[in-house]
Symmetry: C2
Subunit: 592 residues, 2 copies
Amino acid sequence: MRSHYCGQLNETLVDQTVTLCGWVHRRRDHGGVIFLDMRDRDGIAQVVVDPDTAEAFANADRCRNEFVLRIVGRVRPRPEGTQNPNMPTGMIEVLAKEVEVLNTAATPPFQLDEHGKVGEEVRLKHRYIDLRRPEMLDKLRLRSRISHSVRAFLEGQGFLDIETPILTRATPEGARDYLVPSRTHAGSFFALPQSPQLFKQLLMVSGFDRYYQIAKCFRDEDLRADRQPEFTQIDLEASFVDEDEIMGITESMIRQLFQEVLEVELPEFPRMPYSEAMSRYGSDKPDLRIPLELVDVDDLMAQVDFKVFSGPAKADDGRVAALKVPGGAELSRKAIDEYTKFVGIYGAKGLAWIKVNERAKGLEGLQSPIVKFMENVIDELLERVDAQDGDIIFFGADKARVVNEALGALRVKLGEDLELYTQDWAPLWVVDFPMFEDDGSARMQALHHPFTAPSCDVEALKADPAQALSRAYDMVLNGTELGGGSIRIHDQEMQRAVLEVLGIDQAEAEEKFGFLLDALKYGAPPHGGLAFGLDRLVMLMTGARTIREVIAFPKTQSAACLMTDAPGEVSAEQLKELNIRLRAKAKPEAAE
Amino acid sequence: MRSHYCGQLNETLVDQTVTLCGWVHRRRDHGGVIFLDMRDRDGIAQVVVDPDTAEAFANADRCRNEFVLRIVGRVRPRPEGTQNPNMPTGMIEVLAKEVEVLNTAATPPFQLDEHGKVGEEVRLKHRYIDLRRPEMLDKLRLRSRISHSVRAFLEGQGFLDIETPILTRATPEGARDYLVPSRTHAGSFFALPQSPQLFKQLLMVSGFDRYYQIAKCFRDEDLRADRQPEFTQIDLEASFVDEDEIMGITESMIRQLFQEVLEVELPEFPRMPYSEAMSRYGSDKPDLRIPLELVDVDDLMAQVDFKVFSGPAKADDGRVAALKVPGGAELSRKAIDEYTKFVGIYGAKGLAWIKVNERAKGLEGLQSPIVKFMENVIDELLERVDAQDGDIIFFGADKARVVNEALGALRVKLGEDLELYTQDWAPLWVVDFPMFEDDGSARMQALHHPFTAPSCDVEALKADPAQALSRAYDMVLNGTELGGGSIRIHDQEMQRAVLEVLGIDQAEAEEKFGFLLDALKYGAPPHGGLAFGLDRLVMLMTGARTIREVIAFPKTQSAACLMTDAPGEVSAEQLKELNIRLRAKAKPEAAE
């Protein structure tokens, strides 16, 4: 029905007859002539309809925005002075011979170029209109290209695309499962997978050697900004590999992806131990675009007569850290108050600071509510953070976890607010994670999942589990965790030892993932893998502000789809077939 | 960790040192030497371990089947007389220098080459072992190649890969939905999609122009042989197209797929109207490899004095048809009795037949329990079916539906039993389906779904809906429906008319798919598409006997996974969070 997409038209087509199909993006009447901006997924082209072509003109005349048209016409250069060099098709226009109205359109609930005037709710309800915006089409088209590039790379590396089940059993990630009542097995439920983790390990036991899947995963969690109930992973696993091989393959994949899709050459991927990331950046996913670092000052602050600092400095689980911001002495009192409020979100009880006005003047050159308490260490402190005139130094003093979270987040916020970025893209690998974390409960918790291999042997693991490091690795880009993975345990004795540390007894293990433990008995190869969050990757690559911009039909933060009105009510008969009923409180009138 | 896959070894590598990783497929001890057949996903290679290499020999000596090994050795030609030309690696062997045991293996529940000795249940429970069988690996590898080929073709044609939701609202296919209780919206449920039908139409309304997805779909039906609760569709949709364009694109896709993956050149795809398919083959998915046809004999049988035939021949909804089988006169009485029982499954009350022993002898040359009733038409009958000596003619006489189903199935069974196939692959398009079927209930039913466009205009549709044909098309290969689709309705007036015929009133339409009807108002382009069943396509291409052979982790006919033991019980606490409880009958002890 068409010869060209609108966006494809250019000067090489002058004098040719073309057929376009698309939507009326804008209509203008000017000097007795109708101008139609015709839009399709490739772009916008200007169509001129002259009263000389009477039938075409009559049809064009009844058109309003978003009418669907088929246009036959001749490409011609735009008259001198009316060209638009900012538009790919801006040098030409199409003089219409035929205008066929394929469909009419009611006035849409919002005009595309005025989408900002309506709330996101209106746009989500009429998602099919919102998706017409060129920037939305472009984001989803880029998503399609990203999937394509990833698939091509992995298939070139011998990875096989294998589908794993959606209707399955609870998986060991530990978030809340979505459940599906079984009709044929009364009282039983499927769980939707939080990841294909166990299945991909079983595929390695089967000898598939290299597996990948762009897989839907599900978590029934209260949604934070960047979460969706269903999300997509680039999931892969390989056998007879070590961490260097998995990291090498996936780093190449991301590097090639950025070249192909964005024409960006990513810099080196440094490897940073978890402990260093926490110490220098207060985060296990540091944004290395920002040239600010946390500096440990425990030893100095242990000497001051100021309990707020000396207490954490001396405590085993405490930390006092400084964050120097070059040029930050210009921050207003109000700005500092805002930052104080900001770190409060992370549990910090305050935000101490020193402005370095003129370091040469000694104490007099400093401005600070707290400097009076630390005269005895001030020189050494300024030396350690390499303070220059015009800097501000912030402090965090609390439990290490609070200091890391608060100053880590403050560092990122300052980087953004003060535009401190030194580069566009800053990738890295974070490695050498602890195997376990002690969250204060009776049991140790697995930092990743119970199948992550430790980097020590069984004896060392049992002797001091808190010191054991894992063979896990996270890929981080611009402060976002793009993906994470590990070498898995393939040895039964090691698996038993890890479950023991986690306080998972045999019965519980058998109940939760007995089939995997069984499989390990029958000749499991050494194996490992990684999973990337595709939605986040697309967000980063498209510069989207919310995850909802890179998903065609997303859900709201209360896990609802405003367009289809899902979830919805179901009939009493359906519930009966599924052997369930609603709790009285939930919806008394619907329960039979 | 490896230099080559086992299956890659050949004579060009003689004298090279290689490193293999894999499983002990078989171990033999012969003349003081240990022979290990090492298996990985690419094949099997013979490894020889000599007692001279003491450490390697000691390690090899403790190996049993399915141990996981890493082997370093030198490739050498097999000694004269021990070559195996039937094996890709059969001309060489590897003389081991090092044998490293990477993992041990307990005796598996069945030996791979004796999998036939255990029931499918045992194999499904230990699926990770069953998948080690080279034929299973090969089928899933071929599936991966098929997905790859399809994606490459469609992306080359400008189709964008767009993901649609899994947690959604009931879709209009009409099978039973899988439901997911919502935690955040008490008393409400998501449905898992039976297809992405509505979403892909909305993507067309948005202007994506060409969409595809390899999509998981779900139906909670009682499972017949070739069904699974979750299955995979190659789903596509395009705008500004007619049926020829969709059929052309998808035919090219399948043609290229067969070339790339099987090196098969498919023959022409003839187009056959639904009415012709039913009349000549008794099926809307005829297997054209079989050179048998149903022949209408209503006019003749209306003249016989045999009510079993003359009744249906005269009735409006009746049919009498003949099916001639060349050479079938050799069929034994017992075989005919079996076929009589077979057509009984489809509701036929009997299976009349005439054996043509010597046609030239007239009635005496025929053998048949019924020929005495049809002496007056026998000559014309034999002429019409072109009976030759040695043929058998079967008859069906009943309601047309019964005759079609019974003789259609008999035709396929005879083709298989008597090996009548004239070609390996016989594709076709079935077109010109009726819009509606009258299943005897008060309402007409949509043969496809309510968004399928009719090939007539609104007036004609309203005037005689029973005669209206749709713009639907099914691709059939070897008697299997590979996929089906249609041009959709993009016009509101037509959509209203169709819903009216279906007896769906405005409130019901609004409730079920109001968002799609809304979308049609705002400038919907002409569009259409198609969905292929990927599982069936893979079955056909791999020659698998059940759908379970082409799915990595399939479910049983009662919709359970024997390996993970899904579906399983969940805690009272989980149910409470989801605002549901079990019905007392279902599982009294688990309900809180």
